[in-house]
């Protein structure tokens, strides 16, 4: 049976959230297709990794365990994944759209001469009839914003297998099963796939920060865009966030301009958030950004431009300068919470 394979990213000995989200999504897709979900974990010291993966629905867990596979390097991981895909013939392969997945998946897709869609915001199963009248059933619809977020494209791979996609963290929900699947563990013969040339890149130094910033889990997000103007002005967002017990987010433009850290980026190429309150300051509201926050329960926008697209999504559109509005919000909150 051609199953769904999820590449499971291991960070600091733990399975990354995005991989568990993809297993959860994979379960749903597999139910529609009448197939199963398989997981592939590549790393070092991976004993017991299958327990968690089976809790999220993996029927078969492929484990490639070798000390040379941690920390992540592109070539050895790509060689193993390519080898496992050729043997197992999955119909769909999913990767997290992380630093790792976005580096790895295109390399694997090229080796397999198979299509890959990056940063999908939705995955569905559907049929297709092409211009010549050929019809296809049960294809993976890979849905993503493109063109700077001004269009939403549905991409398919009618003739090539596997159908491959990457998905950003937080886009899919992560839900464990009430009881884990009683699945099988298959040990990957690492040595069969690796060559000396796969170790051409050597890691000299590595600083990975712990996940301190948690905008995904925050119930209130105060986010800033390019309109905030400077890194100094961004401090006001941190002040407001501290008062409200919120986390600070940023648009891609603000991150690119160096106003805020990468980890704070909300949107298609950042994190998707669903807080109960989202305060957008100086954010124009391109789809690239709104794709990551439009499920917020309440949206307040603060923008000097009354015609900014974000105002059409906002429940409260404050037309004004955030340098004026934010201090007033903090003052009002302090007074009213006494």
């Amino acid at each position: 049976m051609n199953n769904i394979l999820v590449y499971c990213e291991i960070e600091n000995g733990r399975v990354a959230d995005v991989s568990l989200e993809l297993l959860t999504k994979g379960r749903g897709l597999a139910a529609q297709l009448g197939c199963k979900v398989e997981a592939l974990a590549v790393g070092s010291k991976l004993s017991d990794v299958e327990k968690e993966l089976m809790r999220y629905g993996a029927h078969i867990v492929h484990v490639a365990d070798d000390e040379r596979l941690d920390p992540f390097r592109t070539l050895p991981h790509a060689a193993i994944i390519t080898g496992v895909i050729k043997t197992e013939q999955p119909q769909i392969v999913l990767f997290g759209a992380t630093s790792v997945g976005r580096d790895l998946a295109p390399r694997v897709s090229s080796a397999l001469k198979s299509g890959l869609t990056a940063d999908c915001t939705s995955l569905e199963i559907g049929n297709h009839t092409d211009a010549k009248g050929n019809s296809y059933t049960n294809l993976l619809y890979q849905i993503r914003p493109a063109f700077g977020g001004n269009i939403i494209a549905t991409i398919i791979n009618p003739d090539h297998r596997p159908q491959m996609a990457t998905v950003r963290e937080g886009v899919m929900k992560k839900e464990p099963l009430p009881a884990p699947v009683q699945g099988d563990v298959k040990k990957v013969e690492v040595k069969k796939y690796l060559q000396d040339a796969d170790f051409a890149v050597r890691i000299i130094e590595r600083h990975i920060e712990d996940r301190k910033i948690d905008i995904k889990g925050a119930s209130i997000v105060v986010a800033g865009g390019y309109g905030v103007g400077s890194k100094e002005n961004f401090k006001q967002l941190f002040d407001l966030a501290a008062v409200l017990g919120a986390e600070v987010g940023a648009s891609r433009a603000a991150v690119d301009a160096g106003f805020a850290d990468n980890a704070r980026q909300v949107g298609q190429t950042g994190v998707t958030v669903r807080p109960k309150l989202y305060i957008a300051c100086g954010i124009s509201g391109q789809i690239q950004h709104t794709a990551g926050m439009d499920q917020s329960a309440i949206v307040i926008s603060i923008n000097t431009d009354a015609n900014a697209p974000i105002n059409q999504l906002a429940d409260y559109a404050i037309v004004g300068d955030m340098n004026e509005v934010i201090p007033k919000m903090m003052k009002s909150y302090r007074e009213n919470s006494r």
């Binding site: 295109p106 299509g115 990056a118 130094e205 990468n262 789809i287 999504l313």
Partner: protein, 291 residues
Amino acid sequence: MTTSLKIVVLAKQVPDTRNVGKNAMKEDGTVNRAALPAIFNPEDLNALEQALRLKDRYPGTTVHLLTMGPGRAADVIREGLFRGADGGVLLTDRKFAGADTLATSYALAQALRKLQPHIVIAGRQAIDGDTAQVGPQVAEKLGWPQVTYAEEITSYDGKEMVIKRRLERGVETVSATLPLVVTVHASAPDCRPRHAKQLLKYKYAKTLTEIQEAGADYDADLKNADYLRIPEWGVADVGGEETQFGLSGSPTKVKKIENIVFQAKESKKLTAADGDIDGLIKELMANHTIG
């Protein structure tokens, strides 16, 4: 051991999707793509800067641009020349049209086999698609290692190159032997501006097609200035399997495109006046959204 390098920078001409102003919006609220200005993909400029820095540091190093696109994409090569590159090639052929990332990588890799650089440097991703796939796919096609998200190429000793990478939640320094494909992250230094001397030198650089359009006199003027002729390569020039190019070489197909229409929803319009802000905060506190 020699440290002079033959570098190819992959660059793409893209529509400027970052600032879709009112002029680029159609009446129905969708984007008029034709109205967007064509620019040098931003991260490819970061890549060019890394290449030019290597050229500054290691005498004898040359930097060539490789771009694929319609005739007007020659602007990208001219822009690169103005900023310090030594030459460039435009890949242009109807058979390249409709390429997804895989078919694009195939065409670029075929051209690179002909150019035979020591190192290929490209932007991480292009702003029209944001896929970040072409760099790694070119590396795979060539059978070369890849170093993605580079922020700085710190050293090269004729054998090993040391590169600092910017990851989502950290930094990593790696060393790699050449040949190598490097993709450059937006956090890398901006590209230097045009250089007056280069601008004068390459002002009249044109592709074969452009020279033909300009007439026989123009062609004659370039008789002793071959560096002003930008080569144009098609499928026949780069070789390879015809079915791997363009639409036929693209496993992914676009099933549907939906234009985004900005739909208005009921929103309360407020101002920065004290009363408006105070009212809002009270309302949010009353319904327990905050507090």
